[in-house]
């Protein structure tokens, strides 16, 4: 029976959906429920990960240390995971402290073509005997050959798995099959997939990933995440059960965890709003949604125009400041060629 490692970033990616305002009691209650369901890895923190609380992306109501302490207390069995983007988090300011607080799995991420920025952070975690995965974000922006090249770099730095993210929810299943296939052929370590649901493809894409050889899949309760949300975890577990894949996650308990998440964490259940479709089609990071809506309101613009313009300019995750500039330009009637 094929085994799939489930990683659950409900308490990290979900933070994008609530402007990084998750509170301690919410972290505690969901972490405990996920642990009870047998979720192997529970990821927590600011939406962009460690050290990312900022005016650029949004300030987190909880500091990294508080997040980790509360999560750790409520995860007797599951591993505690974090997301780390070099350029936001440094080893001295952020990572050192996180490892000291009992983090088990560190996922070091970069934009899909910039793997070499992760070398020091990956090596640092590996040398300290913790588990470390490499993550390639916005992976639809690179060709499959480029992705393979970047993933190979991460393996050479010491990553024990490489996960590709569909950060804009832009993939169709055939895209995933092709990309996961080449990664599985190029690496000697496990390959993973992290889906977003902008085009309604997150579950189908995750299934395609597993069929192409991926063995790590990310999902969040009720799809809690920016915009259209992520791959819906409880659906994923049910689908994998039905396909005969082993996840070690208890279906009843994960359904309970999802109910708890719906009740305790979210104001709105993620759904594919018109703007989510636009962000998927434009290939722009789903996490921009709330910022785009706000700025469009302030400058009296159509948020769809902002998204398409950001797509034309090839904005990458972390470039939230570009939204204001694009809005000012649209106001002045300037568009990228």
């Amino acid at each position: 029976m094929k085994k799939i490692l489930i990683s659950d970033p409900t308490l990290r990616d979900g933070n994008h959906a609530v402007r990084h305002q998750l509170q301690k009691h919410q972290v505690a209650i969901y972490a405990a429920a996920a642990d009870a369901a047998g979720i192997p890895i529970v990821e927590v923190g600011h939406g962009n990960g460690l050290g990312a609380s900022s005016l650029q992306v949004g300030e987190s109501s909880l500091g990294d240390a508080e997040f980790l302490r509360v999560a750790k207390e409520n995860l007797p069995t599951s591993k505690l995971g974090i997301h780390v983007i070099p350029g936001f988090a440094t080893i001295k300011k952020d990572l050192q402290q996180a490892l000291g607080m009992g983090v088990d799995v560190v996922r070091v991420a970069s934009h899909c073509t910039e793997a070499d920025t992760t070398q020091r952070h990956i090596s640092y975690v590996r040398e300290r005997g913790k588990e470390v995965f490499g993550v390639l974000m916005m992976s639809h922006m690179a060709s499959k050959e480029e992705l393979a090249e970047e993933a190979v770099k991460m393996e050479s730095y010491g990553a024990e798995a490489v996960i590709i993210m569909d950060s804009a929810g832009a993939y169709l299943p055939a895209d995933v099959t092709e990309r996961i296939g080449i990664l599985v052929a190029s690496l000697t370590i496990p390959v993973g997939f992290h889906g977003h649901n902008n085009l309604g493809m997150a579950i189908a894409n995750s299934v395609a990933a597993v069929e192409a050889g991926a063995s790590i899949i990310d999902g969040t309760a009720r799809g809690f995440g920016a915009g259209a949300g992520n791959t819906q975890l409880e659906v994923l577990i049910a689908v994998f059960d039905k396909m005969g894949f082993e996840t070690g996650v208890d279906l009843y308990q994960v359904l309970d965890a999802a109910d708890i998440a719906e009740r305790e964490l979210m104001k709105n259940i993620p759904s594919i709003k018109s703007l989510s479709v636009v962000s998927g089609v434009a290939g722009v990071f789903s996490g921009f949604a709330k910022h785009v809506e706000r700025v469009a309101g302030e400058y009296d613009l159509d948020p769809r125009d902002i998204f398409f313009e950001l797509g034309r300019r090839k904005a990458v995750a972390g470039q939230e400041d570009m939204i204001i500039e694009v809005a000012l330009n649209l106001k002045a009637g300037v568009r990228a060629a």
Binding site: S54, L55, Q56, P86, G87, F88, T90, I91, K92, K93, H111, T113, E114, D116, T117, Q119, R120, M141, A142, R294, V295, E298, R313, K314, A315, V316, G318, Q319, D321, M322, I324, E325, L328
Partner: protein, 311 residues
């Protein structure tokens, strides 16, 4: 009138681009271009330009100290810690391009004259050169600045192997510079690499949290600061003038380079080099004046603000 002799340690992109700027300068001449490998692209370029080259690193200066009065160290932070004691004992002025944080931080638009009293000055970082003048301005207009955050996006192709492996040092040094020049309580620096083709120009956004934002005051003075920077970085542009958005002060600048050894989009590399040349020329003018060239007098004074390498 004479020129001050300088040496460049480090034959990478930064060192080679500095060389081309120096060859245009009326105040500087390059006595020696130093690397470790005679066949590197930078060394080849210097050789073609007829500049004396050496592959003997710091020993090349130690063995022939008269070759220069001022040294640009464009190697790495680690190497700078090794170079500085040697150069200090030889009495050389050193302009440190690395994030070694040994010397006094210099941002020409703010503290050029004051920097000249130091024997070792540090050019902070590229993001620091772009953002610190704006952070300084915010500091001047507000009694208390709670927090400043600077986010630089640069073209992936403009970030060489050293930048990529030293992201943490970049962040630490930039944050230190922001705090020192703005007086803010807390600072955060973020660096984003963007691989888009055609390559994006360097862009830096400065965010600030203050109790009573004085947007009008900032708008009145920001252009003067931009002009001061444009003296040595001609294509430094304000693309989002000070605005208050979601309770935060936001300013965005764009920096295009001169396109010497490095492409125009690599404004991040160009700005730190332009700043270093501005500092070196200021040292040179001091030295030449003290050596008696100043008696040629008024003509020199007239030209003080026209950065000769832009000619």
């Amino acid at each position: 009138m004479g020129k001050m002799k300088v040496a460049i340690l480090g034959s990478g992109n930064i060192g080679t681009d500095l060389l081309i700027k120096i060859m245009r300068s009326r105040y500087l001449e390059c006595g020696l271009f130093i690397g470790r490998n005679l066949s590197s692209p930078g060394m080849t370029k210097a050789n073609m330009l007829g500049v004396r080259i050496s592959d003997r690193s710091i020993d090349a200066i130690a063995d022939d100290p008269d070759i220069c009065d001022l040294v640009f160290d464009a190697t790495s932070a680690r190497d700078h810690h090794r170079h500085w004691p040697v150069l200090e004992s030889l009495g050389k002025v050193v302009i440190d391009m690395t994030p070694a944080q040994v010397g006094a931080m210099c941002v020409p638009a703010i503290n050029l004259n004051e920097s000249l009293s130091h024997q070792n000055i540090n050019m902070v970082t590229c993001g620091g050169q772009a953002s610190i003048p704006m952070a300084h301005l915010i500091g001047q207009h507000h009694e208390e600045v709670e927090y400043i955050e600077v986010v630089s996006s640069i073209a992936s192709r403009s970030a060489g192997p050293a930048t990529r492996i030293n992201l943490d040092e970049y962040i630490e040094t930039t944050e230190k510079g922001i705090r020192a020049f703005s007086g803010c309580r807390e600072a955060k620096a973020i660096l984003i690499l963007n691989p888009a083709q055609p390559c994006v120009d360097m862009q830096t956004t400065i965010f600030a949290k203050v109790a009573h934002p004085d947007i009008e005051g900032l708008r009145r003075t920001v252009n003067e600061m931009v002009k001061r920077i444009q003296h040595y970085v001609p294509d430094y542009q304000l693309i989002v003038p000070p605005v208050l958005e979601d309770g935060r002060i936001v300013i965005t600048v764009k920096v295009q380079g001169l396109g010497d050894y490095l492409p125009r989009f690599a404004g991040n590399l160009d700005i730190i080099n332009c700043a270093a040349i501005a500092a070196a020329e200021a040292y040179a003018k001091e030295m030449l004046k003290n050596a008696g060239f100043g008696t040629q007098g008024e003509r020199y004074e007239e030209n003080i603000d026209k950065r000769s390498y832009l000619a």
